[in-house]
């Protein structure tokens, strides 16, 4: 202790206001407010996560529907033209086959 110290004596002689009577009550009030704030913050966070998940819907929901195709009425004569086989001359095909056969035979002869 520094009881004989003039600084200590002067400090002790100075008035210090008394401790407020309701300090314990004030502390409890602050602790309650703090707990409420924390609970509110948690509730807001949970609500935000739930809202985000609901908006996002990771489990899929309905599959994406194909776009509606417009039904177009096509006249029968046009359909015939559209689905008709391409115009091929059967004689031209036979000529081409004969030519290929002859070419192959002549190659075989040369090889012998």
């Amino acid at each position: 202790m520094n009881s004989s110290d003039p600084v200590a004596d002067a400090l002790r002689s100075g008035p210090i206001p008394p401790t407020p009577a309701n300090l314990a009550g004030e502390v409890r009030r602050r602790l309650r407010r703090r707990a409420l704030r924390q609970r509110g913050l948690v509730a807001v966070l949970v609500a935000a996560v739930v809202a985000a998940v609901l908006l996002w819907r990771p489990w899929g929901g309905s599959p994406v529907a194909p776009p509606d195709l417009a039904v177009v009425e096509i006249p029968a004569e046009e359909i015939e033209v559209l689905f008709a086989p391409p115009p091929i001359d059967p004689l031209a095909i036979l000529t081409r086959q004969d030519r290929s056969t002859m070419l192959a035979l002549s190659r075989l002869e040369e090889a012998k």
Partner: protein, 195 residues
């Protein structure tokens, strides 16, 4: 109980109370407040220089004690740990105030002027006059040094006890105390009978 024992001294009662706080015992907090409020309030008033701000700081300090009590491992006495937490909270409040001083340089830096000069003249009590002058001089010290001077000279704690609370070495505190005393001498004048 905390208010009667030395800060650094082991107090089983305080240790038990803090352990009960760790377990969430609300009544233990009430007992701790009763035991420590006077000491912490005196420190806060000395550092902050304003009873209203001191009450705010001490209430915040007990909230901090309650919310951080699980970090107390028992390596320091409960009283030391509580005072250390409170000291930091009070310093935070003092720093807040210093920030306000930077914005409004004219506010707060001046030593407190007596509200009524006539009353000041009427008050001829030498000891009160010295105490007032000392309080004015203390207001010019940084908050950390104000706390140090208060704990050493007012609360009568040893440097070793204060070192445990303030988290500084005994030698560093000795140097700071000497510097604070020199600063007080400077403010009060060389011929002052206090120093």
């Amino acid at each position: 109980m905390g208010s009667n024992g030395a800060i650094g001294g082991a107090s089983r009662v305080d240790d038990d109370l803090l352990r009960r706080c760790q377990a969430g015992d609300d009544a233990a907090l009430g007992e701790l407040i009763c035991g420590f409020q006077d000491r912490l309030f005196r420190l806060a008033v000395r550092v902050l220089g304003d009873p209203a701000r001191a009450e705010d700081a001490v209430a915040d300090a007990f909230v901090a004690v309650w919310s951080r009590c699980r970090s107390w491992r028992g390596d320091a006495a409960a009283a030391t740990w509580i005072c250390r937490v409170a000291y930091r909270v009070v310093l935070d409040h003092a720093r807040e105030r210093r920030r306000w001083w930077r914005i409004f340089p004219s506010a707060g830096r001046e030593p407190p002027v007596p509200a009524d000069p006539a009353a000041e003249l009427a008050n001829r009590d030498r000891q009160e006059h010295l105490a007032r002058r000392l309080a004015e001089a203390l207001a010019t010290l940084p908050p950390e040094d104000r706390a140090l001077v208060h704990l050493h000279y007012y609360e009568g704690q040893s440097l070793a006890e204060i070192a445990a609370v303030l988290g500084a070495s005994r030698d560093a505190l000795k140097m700071r105390l000497s510097r604070a005393r020199g600063r007080l001498r400077e403010v009060l004048g060389d011929g002052d009978e206090l120093l």
